[in-house]
């Protein structure tokens, strides 16, 4: 009797068939059943639908609406931009059809730009002075609060995935588990803001902020390793190099292009021209990284680090340009990311529960170990903040980036696990909080 595959096993790719990454797909064929005015109708529906979505975004920033959000205790969820992910998912539904395949293909370059923008924004925060000024205790705490949940998520999800994927030994389950673990190791920037809203002291907020920033570094580093050592194969790439070579290539590309961009940005004073150059630079780097099947998030992160640490340079203008353009780019990114999210696969929801549970457990264990090993002397507020830590934009960006790099069936499970996990974690965080919401939430964005 032939063994039947387990129910959870995804469809393996057919022989000779290589799924194409999101950012490398050619345009879809026009739908056969649409002609002339119907095509115009489809386009108009898409455009008006997008206008409606942006109208909602504007309304969401209105003070009266924000007051209602605070009363309903959902302002943190709104601030994280998660509704835009849901809007994108809804807009892509066939029954609604605002973001059809044709329209989605047109706006997909925004995905590369969004990933690059997030990476660049995070990298630009890591200047040498900031790193040197970090208290040693924060660094040690961050090691535990990032590493322990990483290991716990990796272990638990590996066990589930090795059983579910059941493919020949090519370590894909390990890659997927690493993606999840990387996404789970980090804490969102809303954590210190939540603390501040609860009336925590300045020192506490600063400490949590520094730990969160170090967590982000761990996340990007994890993605860099995954992207280097689990390379896409097939006709889309012409260079076959070992993983370590790709690692050096990633760093080298970021450093080289970072230097060029530094020279370019230093030639302009400020204003619209400077914003143009920042936008063009991130677009160029992220497009190039995507073209080379590297992670645009990681490469732009390295560019950001280069720019903030080279002497002189227009750092204030870059910061200003980032702040000015961050919100619309971030929202558009979330919209496109949401539209690419396939929430129908129930395996992803099962994985989500495991992901959230093991992450919480790992965060708790990490805090316990940090206190014992480092004599950190965490306050109750700090402990609570580190254990019940929200999942932020970078985690979502990591799985979206993975979805592009590895267009396999199982990666969409990771996306569901992280996006669903982010929502579930927000609910848990809200439930655990003692006092009210932030009275003046920061605009949606990476920071």
């Amino acid at each position: 009797m032939v063994d039947q595959p387990p129910v959870l096993q995804p469809e393996p790719p057919k022989a000779g068939e290589h799924p194409v990454p999101l950012l490398m797909q050619p345009p879809p064929p026009p739908p056969e059943e649409l002609h002339g005015i119907q095509t115009a109708s489809e386009a108009i529906k898409a455009i008006l639908g997008l206008v409606a979505i942006f109208g909602l975004a504007y309304l969401a920033g209105h003070p009266r609406v924000q007051a209602i959000e605070e009363k309903l205790r959902i302002s943190q969820v709104m601030t994280a931009g998660l509704p835009f992910v849901l809007l994108g998912a809804l807009a892509h539904l066939r029954q609604i059809g605002i973001l059809s395949e044709n329209v989605l293909w047109e706006v997909r370059p925004l995905l590369a730009l969004g990933l690059g923008w997030i990476g660049f924004s995070i990298g630009f925060r890591f200047n040498a002075k900031m790193v040197e000024s970090l208290p040693a205790a924060s660094t040690r705490i961050s090691v535990f609060t990032a590493a322990v949940p990483f290991i716990s998520v990796l272990a638990a999800c590996s066990l589930m995935l090795v059983w579910a994927e059941h493919w020949p030994a090519n370590a894909i389950f390990f890659r997927d588990a690493m993606i999840l673990a990387t996404a789970g190791a980090m804490t969102a920037y809303s954590a210190p803001r939540l603390l501040e809203a609860r009336g925590a002291s300045g020192n506490t907020v600063d400490r949590i902020t520094s730990i969160v920033e170090l967590d982000q570094l761990a996340g990007v580093f994890g993605l860099m390793l995954v992207a280097a050592y689990f390379r896409p194969q097939g006709a889309l790439v012409s260079w076959q190099l070992p993983g370590t070579a790709w690692l050096f290539l990633t760093i080298g590309m970021g450093a080289t292009v970072g230097g060029v961009i530094y020279a370019a940005l230093s030639r302009v004073e400020g204003g619209p021209e400077f914003s143009l150059l920042v936008l063009g630079s991130i677009c160029f780097v992220s497009g190039m990284a995507s073209f080379l099947r590297l992670s645009p998030l990681v490469v732009c992160f390295i560019v950001g680090i280069i720019l903030v640490n080279l002497p002189g340079g227009p750092k204030d203008q870059i910061r200003e340009a980032l702040t000015r353009m961050e919100r619309p780019i971030y929202l558009l990114f979330l919209l496109v990311a949401g539209s690419l999210w396939d929430a129908r696969q129930w395996q992803g929801w099962v994985l989500m529960l495991l992901f959230v549970g093991t992450r919480l457990l790992g965060k708790w264990l990490g805090v316990v170990l940090a206190e014992r090993r480092t004599a950190a002397g965490l306050t109750q507020e700090e402990r609570r903040s580190l254990i019940f830590s929200p999942i932020g934009a970078l985690s979502i960006a990591i799985v979206v980036n993975a979805q592009d790099l590895y267009p396999d069936a199982t990666v969409s499970w990771m996306v569901t696990a992280v996006i669903g996990g982010a929502i579930l974690t927000e609910i848990i965080v809200q439930a655990s909080s003692r006092s009210g919401e932030i009275t003046d939430p920061a605009p949606w964005g990476v920071s």
Binding site: L22, L23, M24, Q25, P26, P27, T39, A40, A43, I44, I47, L48, V51, F54, W105, E106, R108, P109, L111, A112, L113, A235, L236, V237, S238, W239, T256, V257, V260, A263, A264, R267, E269, G270, G271, P272, E273, S275, L276, L277, L279, G280, S281, I282, C283, F284, V285, S286, G287, M288, S290, F291, L292, P328
Partner: protein, 437 residues
Amino acid sequence: MRFLIVLVLAGLMQAAKSFGPAPGVGSSPAGTALACGYLLLSAFFAGSIFKSLGLPRLTGYLFTGIIVGPRVLGLVSDPMVGNLRIFNGIATALIALTAGVELDLQSMKPLLKTIGWLSAVAVLGTIGLLTGAVFLSRDLLPFMTHLTLVQAIAISVVLGVTMVAQSPAVVVALHSEMQSDGPLTRTILGVVVMSDLVVIILFAIVSSVAKSLLGSGTDAFRTAGALAWEVLGSLAIGALVGVILAVYLRYVKGSSALFVTAAAFLIAEIGQRVDLDPLLVALAAGVLIRNATRHGERLQHEIEVSSLPVYVVFFAVTGATVHINELLIVGIPAMALVLTRAAGFYGLGWLATSIAKAPETVRRNAGFGLMPQAGLALALALLFVKTFPHFGAEGSALVLGVVAMNEMVAPVLYRWALVRSGEAGQSKAVTEAVPAH
């Protein structure tokens, strides 16, 4: 240093392109993002180099597009250029919005006589000259040799109307770059906007007549209806868009740059799909806001904030679509037509402004302002191909050759004219904190 940056960027672009061996990879979203970023950076620095040489920035953008485009170096491929055409619509709408906002009808009243005479004499007269030039050279144009006399005249008229089309985009971009203001600036803006309208209407009429003479058969009522919808419908919808923009500007106090850009995108995408002219829609919206509301200055500022990246990519993509190879084929006839057009605009422009008793600066320089040519002529050339499928490609090649030459040379001439007239740097924006372009 800027030149070195441009070279390094080109090297990086070539390295990136050498990576993916699969054909059609450039058409992917990654390729689009890469091309967009590359054009933004390279064209910007090329424009800056051109400015230091005393040439218009936008010539630098165009030049970049030509050099790195599919027909020369091929750093930006055809699929990439195709995917970036979305910028064309947004840029056209933003430019038309700017043109409309600058059309202060009250302050332009003294110039209406000059604008009217220039449109009637210079523009219509040059159509006549170009028609004559095409007709006289028909033996040199293979696609016209088999036509009867009447058919040849009809096609000559259509080509004359196509080739006379000017470019509000280039004119507005030059005015913005040179921060010019004065009777010449306002007169030229008024003329190119008005002649845009006239050329669209004329093209529809003469091409319908030519089609019927060629036996293709055309429904005159349907054509008239389509034209009425395109022109009148665009103006009406544009007024509505203007009202919406005005309401937004009234009630939203913060930065509205993103909203204005989104509105331009909406006008461009929806307008094309319902057979409206996005240029007329945006123009009408801008004119309404300037002349019927108090938000003209604010809208102008918001457009300035958001439009620069759009313009840079738009002109670079326009350059990348210049058919250099066809220019080599139709070079001599195209050169003759370029010179005819230039002579017509200059000479008849001088005549028209003399009749209208315009100031000396306008008389001496108006012709140069009518010479730039870009988007509308290209669009009409494409329409020519569709309208006359048997020989449209050859005819449009001639038009494209003329446009290619005018795209490269005319902005330089008009820039020189603005400087010569003394109107460069006279804009009110100079007194505000606008960064140097």
